[in-house]
Amino acid sequence: MLHIPADIIQDMIAHARELAPHECCGILSGKQETVVESYRITNILANMSQQELSRFEGAKLSDLQRLSPEERADIAFQMDAREMAMAQRDIRTKNADLIGFYHSHTASPARPSQTDVTIAMEFEHYRTKLNLPEPLHLIISLENAESPDVRAYRIQDSQATEVSIQQSSV
């Protein structure tokens, strides 16, 4: 069970709405199973020009070897690495833990896509070597615009298992 303050859930939903139709992304920190802080991270794909994007695709994404062409075409967010590192440092300074990553699905359910699972497994590979804690993966779905859906998952051995979220009042 993951405990998240209501204001952080609202902020993730607001972030998703602000960036739609692009996906938003961010990091959650806290202690054990309780989120205490969220960090909005720039989705570098959202503010790239078409020209930059085509160069970017050529430079990087098309070579993600484990991804099929369909999965590559599906990539919709990539965190700004510098902001991600800054957030991780802030978390460490506060003696908290990185609890999870979040991103939005603007038109699909709050379930990890095949691409999400593949990239999460890739991250697992580095994570264990760098002694980072295992992250949960949260997805904010705007598929139903009136009632956004927020769900959390553990992704291990290429399987996503839902972890229930308990919203706590502020």
Partner: protein
């Protein structure tokens, strides 16, 4: 020699190896020497200005070089350098 961990997307350039050993006294030198040993790899790590790309983190041991001295970060025998793409995902 410094052990350099290569992420999956760049392994085609290292003959599939996930770790290579490279000589160098700083992160910048390692990137240069890695580029000489494995043509094309440097351009994937750094942009046209020579800066580490926005979607890549480089760690020395367990610390991001942005919190050390960037590409000037000195390295000594036994250090490990990891090249890690920032987290991404799909729809």
């Amino acid at each position: 020699m410094i052990k350099v961990r290569i992420p999956t997307p760049l392994r085609p350039m290292t003959g599939g190896k996930n770790e290579v050993e490279i000589d160098g006294n700083s992160v910048g030198e390692i990137i240069e020497n890695l580029g000489s040993a494995h043509p094309g790899i440097k351009e994937r790590i750094c942009d046209e200005q020579g800066e580490v790309r926005r979607f890549i983190n480089i760690y020395v041991n367990e610390e991001d070089i942005r919190f050390l001295t960037g590409k000037e970060t000195p390295l000594k025998d036994g250090d490990e350098m990891s090249i890690i793409p920032a987290i991404a995902g799909g729809r």
